[in-house]
């Protein structure tokens, strides 16, 4: 019992990542398989079961060697029933009995949560969160997601929407979001949001700017191009980064004002801008937090990259 292991599965639209870990957080084995979304995604769960069983054989391990399997999934996850609904990048349109199938197929206890929540658990446990019991995670990718660990518990809320930091209202008269309301953090701080802010600010900008030139030439831009231009001192790009940082600083300050976590960890593709982004967000974070939070809640960059999910998923098995 003392040296039983845990298995993490991070299911995404292109790959499923796996890890065998100790309950102390040491990764012992890692592998991944392609996600086959054909035929309404009906191969996904069987492929996961087969891959786990194959690897157990390979390492001469049996179900009895494991405390459990934890998994992070896109879509709407029912953590009690262990089902997933509406995961469109998996072609899962109907409710999938993931827990029932995987427990039957592997003989190992199974726990599931959504992908942003398991990434939050990963960063909280083994990443920038340093295993503190109050850590909030925000991920700036195609969209903006997040997860909240408070008093040691991953929060879900009454209907699973706790930690949805992408839909915090930061600009009541701002851009319309895909969710149907205005001014969501996601509309300005996701990868696509940064580009949207860039296009709008470029229209108003009159001075000399390489970024404006790229846009005027009709070339596609990305949030990476915006940050790269800003790092090169491009005036327009610096203004864009400042505006994005303002809204992100405001949203995270209010996370701090409400929850006073040890750390608010920033991950996802946009956070690849690193300290250049962090210091600018931190300026507004400090402006919008009250003294006790300003002194005790710290912004940090995520450290686990795309392994946060599989590590956090594994930790579900020991929650």
């Amino acid at each position: 019992m003392a040296d039983k292991k845990i298995i993490g599965v991070d299911l995404g639209g292109t790959t499923a990542k796996f890890a065998i870990m100790t309950p102390e957080g040491e990764i012992q084995q890692r592998w991944s398989i392609d996600t086959n979304i054909l035929d309404d995604g009906k191969h996904i769960v069987p492929d996961i079961i087969e891959s786990i069983n194959e690897h157990l054989d390979l390492y001469n391990m049996t179900p009895g060697d494991f405390i459990g399997i934890g998994m992070g999934s896109p879509g709407s996850v029912d953590i009690d029933k262990g089902t997933v609904t509406g995961a469109f990048n998996l072609n899962w349109k109907t409710t999938q009995p993931v827990k029932a199938d995987i427990e039957k197929g592997t003989g190992i206890t199974f726990t599931i949560d959504n992908d942003a929540n398991v990434a939050a658990l990963g960063e909280q446990w083994q990443g920038a969160g340093d295993n503190n019991k109050d850590v909030t995670f925000v991920t700036l990718g195609t969209g903006v997601g997040g997860g909240i660990v408070a008093d040691g518990n991953l929060l879900h809320g009454v209907a699973g929407s706790a930690g949805e930091l992408g839909h915090v209202t930061v600009d009541p008269n701002g851009y319309m979001c895909t969710c149907g309301k205005r001014g969501c953090l996601e509309t300005v701080a996701s990868a696509t949001g940064v580009v949207r802010v860039a296009r709008d600010m470029a229209e108003e900008f009159a001075g000399d700017s390489k970024l404006k030139q790229i846009l005027d030439d009709g070339d596609e831009i990305s949030s990476k191009i915006v940050f790269d231009c800003a790092k090169d001192g491009d005036k327009l790009a610096l203004m864009i980064v400042d505006r994005v940082s303002y809204f992100l600083g405001l949203a995270l300050a209010n996370v701090g004002n409400m929850l006073n976590p040890s750390f608010i960890v920033i991950g996802g593709g946009v956070s690849a801008a690193g300290d250049f982004l962090l210091t600018r967000v931190d300026k507004y974070f400090k402006q919008f937090t009250f003294p006790n939070v300003r002194k005790t809640t710290e912004l940090r960059l995520a450290t686990l990259g795309n392994t946060a999910g599989v590590i956090g998923a594994a930790s579900l098995a020991i929650k």
Copy 2:
């Protein structure tokens, strides 16, 4: 053991309220004493001890009949050490060893938390929260305070500031708050905040208004007068209530977007305006929440009034 009781103490600057309750939430006895803040508040704890012991004698009860005592206190509470610092309305300037003294004086286990947190626990357990495990409480009084119960746990954060909803930034360019930053919810939604908004909006207002007349006459106004005028159809007062409701709706919407509680419970003096306030705040709450939160998180008025504190305090004994 099965029928052991709990004691709640709600310590305030003018009175200390007491209750003997069952662990199921039934109040069996209630009483209160005046808070004697003379001599740097050094009589307060001895008076509480004496009052508890007297009432135990009166009801023929012994320390063995109790699971514990829970107390809510103003000031900065160290819940682990059981001490209170800087409670200025008690004249407690130095650190008070409340837990040590009360346990020694009564022979009963003692737990303490701050007054806004115990009021939140009270409303969550026996009030508008209907004992749901995700309930946020906001109190609109002289200041604005709050407390968050998430996944069944009262949140404290790393330095005790979780639930300080009064300092959520709702208007980045708004009024300066006593905390030193601008645009805190407290600057517009506390009793004094409502009056501040009223004075400023009255200056700009040109039309016919009884409220403006009162202000022009140099008479003092209160948040109650503002709401009473609004209920009578006073145009200026309605505009003031709308602005206050906008900021409160925005702040509570972001509580919803982050935490997705079952209920956000509104208490404190300003909430005496009742459904008149609630429906106006709810309009903005719905505008600023995303669909899943809009459908599942509900605003409610507090139901326990000023007994929330003593009930929530008692519940600390069984946490």
